[in-house]
């Protein structure tokens, strides 16, 4: 259970620092109050259905969270403490991490907005991180991610595309070395191992070096990988390196005769924005034959300068994500709850820790869109389009999931390369491959 660092009672003292501005805000407050009245009957925290009162204003009813949250964010950015106070209080009344999508979004965003308003983002993030750390056992993580992959192609999309590109780029090489910086616990590799074992005539030797952000579960993951590789009959070696400081050939143990692939799934965004270019150049120094990059399609960079813009984007993305989770999982899924909780850290980090240096790193979580990553990558690498076969494989993968998922191949306009996974027409994941 999240440790919520705030309660309704404590709101006011924290907000006294705000310069109050109460002229133009009465209308909004009234409107908000109207919404509030309408939803008072909606307090049930576990129901997923709307009350009958809401039927008249269905549009509003379905989107109350985003409206309230937006108003609140606006109030915060205008430093309107009264309004902020009021909205935060209301959100707190209505939000619940166990309710429907709106209630959940309200709950997690409320936390971030509160931290933003009270400038306690860092502390909150640290608390959330340490709680998460305690709860991240190998078993629970494994169960979580495998279940997620079963019901949604959110992660497997990138895996299939990347594996396809890697296999094609490293075809015929006898010794492969994959540098993996991903957040998917090596679930990408069993299918690659199987492909290596069955596709080629001569099974190559595979060395997998994982750069882990939090290495504790990676040890066990590595053991499983080794066992599985033995089962597949692929000569295999597994190494874990903590952190991203050692990205050199020597540091990663790259031998001269190895063909190198760098695989980044949900990884680049975890690096501070200023460091990203250096990281990409470091990849280049490894002389890889292929670099695969998979990222979530959202732009969270602008938190410092334009809070509202960043907030909108954050809200948009996580609304999609939560809706996707709701439709993919069963109603009472524990895994879904866990995945939603995982988001709380990112949301706090992006919205409430803007610009400040969070000591001890943590993870940046500032996503960029595919176009933006392309700009960075194009300075160092050249795009390597996914072959038709790989695209077909991805399409076949999507067919195995529920409808709503689709694939869009970028046509090269705007200098974007790569493919997008779309959920209900909205691009959510971007996958690309690059060569030197």
């Amino acid at each position: 259970m999240d440790t919520t660092p705030y309660t309704p009672n404590n709101l006011s003292p924290h907000l006294t620092t705000f310069h109050s501005n109460n002229n133009q805000n009465h209308d909004t407050i009234d409107e908000v109050a109207a919404l509030d009245n309408m939803h008072r009957s909606n307090h049930s925290h576990t129901s997923t259905s709307r009350s009958s009162d809401a039927s008249e204003t269905t549009e509003d009813a379905n989107k109350w969270a985003s409206r309230l949250l937006r108003e609140c964010a606006k109030a915060i950015s205008e430093r309107d403490s009264t309004k902020t106070h009021h909205l935060l209080w209301m959100l707190n009344e209505l939000a619940s991490p166990y309710g429907d999508c709106d209630q959940k979004l309200a709950s997690y965003f409320l936390q971030a907005l509160f931290c933003k308003a009270t400038e306690s983002g860092e502390r909150c993030y640290k608390t959330l991180s340490s709680v998460a750390e305690k709860n991240h056992s190998f078993d629970s993580m494994r169960k979580l991610i495998l279940k997620f992959q079963e019901v949604s192609p959110w992660t497997t999309f990138g895996h299939v595309a990347s594996n396809g590109a890697i296999l094609e780029a490293l075809e015929g090489e006898p010794k492969l070395h994959i540098i993996d910086i991903s957040n998917t616990l090596c679930t990408q590799w069993p299918t690659l191992l199987e492909a290596l074992a069955t596709r080629n005539d001569e099974t190559p030797h595979l060395k997998l070096t994982v750069l882990a952000f939090a290495g504790s579960v990676m040890k066990e993951v590595g053991q499983r990988m080794e066992k599985f590789a033995r089962l597949m009959g692929v000569p295999f070696q597994f190494n874990v390196i903590n952190g991203l400081s050692e990205i050199t050939k020597e540091g990663l143990g790259i031998a001269e005769d190895e063909a190198v692939a760098v695989n980044c799934v949900g990884a680049l965004r975890r690096v501070e924005v200023e460091e990203r270019e250096n990281l990409i150049r470091a990849f280049k120094s490894l002389s890889p034959k292929v670099v695969t990059v998979v990222e979530e399609e959202a732009d969270f960079r602008g938190s410092g300068e334009d809070f509202l813009k960043c907030f909108e984007e954050c809200l948009r993305f996580y609304t999609l994500y939560f809706e996707m989770l709701e439709e993919s999982f069963a109603a009472t899924s524990n895994e879904r709850l866990m995945l939603e909780r995982e988001c709380s850290r990112s949301i706090v980090r992006v919205l409430a820790c803007c610009g400040e240096e969070v000591e001890d790193g943590g993870e940046c979580e500032r996503r960029e869109r595919g176009t933006q990553w392309c700009e960075r990558l194009r300075n160092v690498f050249s795009p390597f389009g996914f072959s038709d076969d790989v695209v077909d494989d991805v399409k076949a993968l999507l067919k195995r999931y529920q409808p709503g998922w689709s694939l869009v191949v970028s046509q090269g306009e705007d200098h974007v390369s790569g493919i997008y996974l779309t959920w209900k027409e909205e691009p959510v994941i971007w996958a690309s491959a690059w060569k030197p």
């Binding site: 069993p190 499983r224 033995r230």
Partner: protein, 461 residues
């Protein structure tokens, strides 16, 4: 002396005297024509046959014969003529002339192909067409579900019928309809980890064996566990069988198919009895065969025990002699094979651990598990067209282990297995040279159980 043929010129083929030009064909070619009707191996044509070289265009062309009335295309003129009857058009079937009674063989137009040489021509027009398509053609047909590509439409159709109908069952009991999620699950499954934990010391063997099979056979209690789980290892779960609870079939394979309690207890008691006999501290020992066949895990890894064959693996890298004589199922084999099932070559490491018979089985299976002769699956009673009997059972266990593929269709399923277990580097130790006596290693006194089991569909689960 081949002449390239254009469309419609098939009837003008040169007669090629193969004896003059080919070096590799049969020696017994008399200088004059003797019509031989014997069947040759594919790609080793009758030297007297007429060699025809068609252009790629001709080979790939389909339906060249068009009906002028409705435009329908036909592959052969004869078919078109018959069709024209329907339009009340004048039609004439060409007669077969004596000349055309000569056998024809076709060469592949692709120069680098082995079948380009007249001595390796293929005897069937449809055959050469398909060959050309498959090997040298563009793979235009793609499976919707798994995106596998085919050049020949009939291949694609055949695949599409079976694709996605297979189910994959992990040793932990979970069923998957999707292969990729099965593979990923497998890699992380606890069953895999458990298995390896038990045989950790064997790791030196494992590099060649790829040895860890996710058994779910765990635990120390002999009879029940083994009875419960063993079938699950062997029996692929078919789509229809899923409803039945795995644990309700408590019989080891060799006991036949009924899951009656009586038999189960009989097995169990046998096991326990045998276990007793061995009285090993490690509570392992073989489960089967209370006599000299029994090899206890306490025994040093004797070279006589060819564990590998049980599951058909070739332990090529082991120092043990891996003779081929005992590679088929223990069930249909002579005694020596049986003990090997339980005397793992990895034994010495096991003596200290609390090895149950089930664990031994696991190990044994694990060693063999990586080899994969898919056809064995068929012999195991999967819906496979193979006739049973001991020859049908050779070496094919291995593929079953650890993967528990559920194959609900016929022989082709066997081939699919090879996808999971790379076949290419594994040579299954070859079958016993027939005639293994059925061993009564359970002391059940039934000689026929084993082959019976083999011969029948295993419905243990």
């Amino acid at each position: 002396m081949l002449r390239k043929m254009d469309e419609g010129e098939i009837t003008h083929a040169f007669h090629q005297n193969l004896t003059a030009s080919s070096a590799a064909s049969n020696n017994n070619n008399p200088p004059h024509h003797v019509l031989k009707r014997k069947r040759n191996l594919p790609g080793n044509p009758d030297p007297e046959a007429e060699v025809i070289a068609l252009s790629p265009k001709t080979l790939m062309a389909t339906n060249r014969f068009l009906c002028e009335t409705c435009g329908k295309g036909f592959q052969r003129d004869q078919n078109l003529q018959l069709h024209r009857r329907g339009h009340n058009l004048p039609w004439k079937l060409k007669q077969r002339t004596g000349k055309e009674a000569k056998k024809r063989v076709y060469v592949c137009p692709e120069k680098s192909c082995v079948h380009h040489d007249p001595s390796r021509a293929l005897g069937d027009l449809t055959g050469i067409k398909k060959h050309f398509c498959r090997k040298h053609g563009e793979k235009k047909w793609k499976c919707e579900k798994c995106s596998k590509r085919y050049a020949v439409q009939s291949d694609w159709k055949a695949h599409s019928k079976t694709c996605g109908t297979r189910e994959y069952k992990c040793d932990c009991g979970t069923i998957f309809s999707r292969r990729d999620s099965f593979i990923t699950h497998r890699a992380f499954c606890d069953a895999l980890a458990e298995e390896t934990a038990r045989v950790n010391a064997v790791s030196d063997m494992n590099t060649s064996l790829g040895g860890n099979i996710g058994y779910n056979v765990m635990g120390t209690s002999l009879g029940h566990n083994m009875a419960t789980h063993f079938p699950s290892i062997f029996k692929p779960v078919s789509n229809t069988d899923e409803t039945s609870n795995q644990t309700s079939r408590g019989l080891p394979l060799w006991m036949g198919q009924t899951s009656s309690q009586a038999q189960e207890t009989m097995v169990n008691s046998n096991l326990r009895e045998i276990h007793h006999q061995l009285g090993s501290a490690t509570s392992s020992g073989t489960i089967y065969g209370g006599n000299s066949l029994v090899q206890c895990s306490n025994l040093p890894p004797s070279n006589n025990y060819q564990l590998s064959w049980v599951f058909g693996t070739k332990l090529s890298n082991t120092s043990q002699e891996l003779t081929t004589s005992t590679t088929s199922l223990p069930l249909c084999n002579n005694n020596t094979s049986v003990p090997s099932l339980y005397s793992s070559q990895h034994q010495p490491h096991q003596t200290s651990s609390n090895m149950s018979a089930t664990a031994l089985l696991q190990k044994a299976a694990q060693i063999g598990a990586t080899s994969s002769d898919p056809s064995w699956l068929g012999s195991l009673g999967l819906k496979c067209g193979n006739s049973q009997g001991q020859d049908g059972n050779n070496n094919k266990f291995s593929g079953m282990y650890g993967s528990s593929f559920v194959l609900s269709e016929a022989d082709n399923s066997a081939c699919d297995m090879s996808q999971m277990h790379p076949l290419k580097r594994r040579h299954i130790l070859n079958e016993e040279s027939g005639g293994g006596q059925t061993r009564d290693f359970l002391g059940v006194g039934v000689q026929n159980h084993l082959p019976t089991f083999i011969n029948q569909r295993v419905d243990l689960i």
